[in-house]
Symmetry: C2
Subunit: 185 residues, 2 copies
DNA sequence: CTTCAGGGAGAACGATCGGTCTTTCTGCGG
DNA sequence: CCGCAGAAAGACCGATCGTTCTCCCTGAAG
């Protein structure tokens, strides 16, 4: 399947996102990437010096999209609704046909070294999301925004994995209710 | 490092558990396994027809140990304390020096096919744990034991991943408090 | 004493890994 | 029209993948 992206670099990134997420990062070789992206090996290594660079780019792009979705979900809303809707973005992610858990948690499982570049992208994304939750919790007057944000992160991580391994519909409902119960009316 | 286990099969299993968990399953080759277990390739394949069989055995053994720990933690206790202590087993798991998240979630990230034998071991373990939580919740008179158990599973999954990627101490405290708040006094 | 299973040692299999290379072609700015 | 960057095509590198094989040795059962 040749992705519709015009530029080879974008085709590579789109193909990498699809294959890495669907099959795992170590499980997808360079040959698969270049053949499905309709790109040659030379072109691959011209844009991404190593495979790990492509992995980092894949996660960075994923983070960018999620930040946009979450920011759009909470923009211009009262704090409580903004937080609920931001968490709903997480729940909605489990709806997709090809949902296979959290890209960042899956990647972390394959990159054990905490100092690896890929892990830093993961760390960045998690800190950003935690910051969003704490900010929303503080804005709605939660007495302990830090604690609330940490619980919400636990629920997020759990929902994204349970959404793959358990019944996604139930996980979504459970997440929504847990978030609602956690916040003061 | 040659494991102390006497029988080759046990040495292989112990070595596999250590390496698979620490470095990821696809990242550890048969050569590493046999050399660190001080076993030959022939012996490897005599006991485990394929590498996937060893992976399944590793997760099955891990499940066995966790079941023993959780059952011990809740045995002969009043329902609420039993549930809290069962969940504390999860939190305590994050204490280890070499803690690297949940063996089952990590493995699921590397085995995308839901029909794979490895995924069935994972599914079994998750269903068992959910059953334990629901049973405890029902015993302590929770009005909706199913919902409570599902929330607890979310917290479990989140804690096991946050315990690796975030501050383990804070994750532990957050988990403990979230569990306490979830249950009726 | 004989038998034979189980383990040790290591060569070898085809396939694939991540990565480098040369050559040819195409399209666009000067 | 020229020049040149970027992409296509594909051979090629050493290393490692999971797996199979032969050969020899030991130790316990009959």
């Amino acid at each position: 399947m040749t992705t519709a992206e015009p530029h080879p670099k974008d085709r590579l990134l789109a193909t990498a996102a699809r294959l890495f997420y669907a099959e795992g990062i170590h499980a997808v070789g360079v040959e698969r990437l270049v053949s499905e992206a309709a790109v040659t090996r030379a072109t691959f290594y011209r844009h991404y010096p190593t495979k790990d660079d492509l992995v980092a780019a894949y996660l960075a792009e994923t983070s960018r999209q999620i930040r946009a979705a979450v920011d759009a979900a909470r923009a211009g809303k009262p704090p409580r609704q903004g937080l609920v809707d931001a968490m709903a973005v997480v729940g909605d992610a489990t709806r997709g046909e090809d949902f296979r858990g959290c890209q960042f948690l899956n990647a972390a499982a394959e990159f054990p070294d905490p100092g690896h570049r890929v892990r830093q992208v993961i760390e960045d994304h998690r800190q950003w999301f935690f910051g969003v939750l704490r900010e929303q919790a503080a804005a709605l007057g939660h007495p302990e925004p830090d604690h609330a944000a940490r619980v919400l992160v636990l629920l997020r991580d759990g929902a994204l994995h349970g959404g793959e391994l358990d019944d996604p519909g139930k996980v979504r409902a459970t997440l929504q209710r847990a978030v609602d119960d956690l916040l003061p009316a």
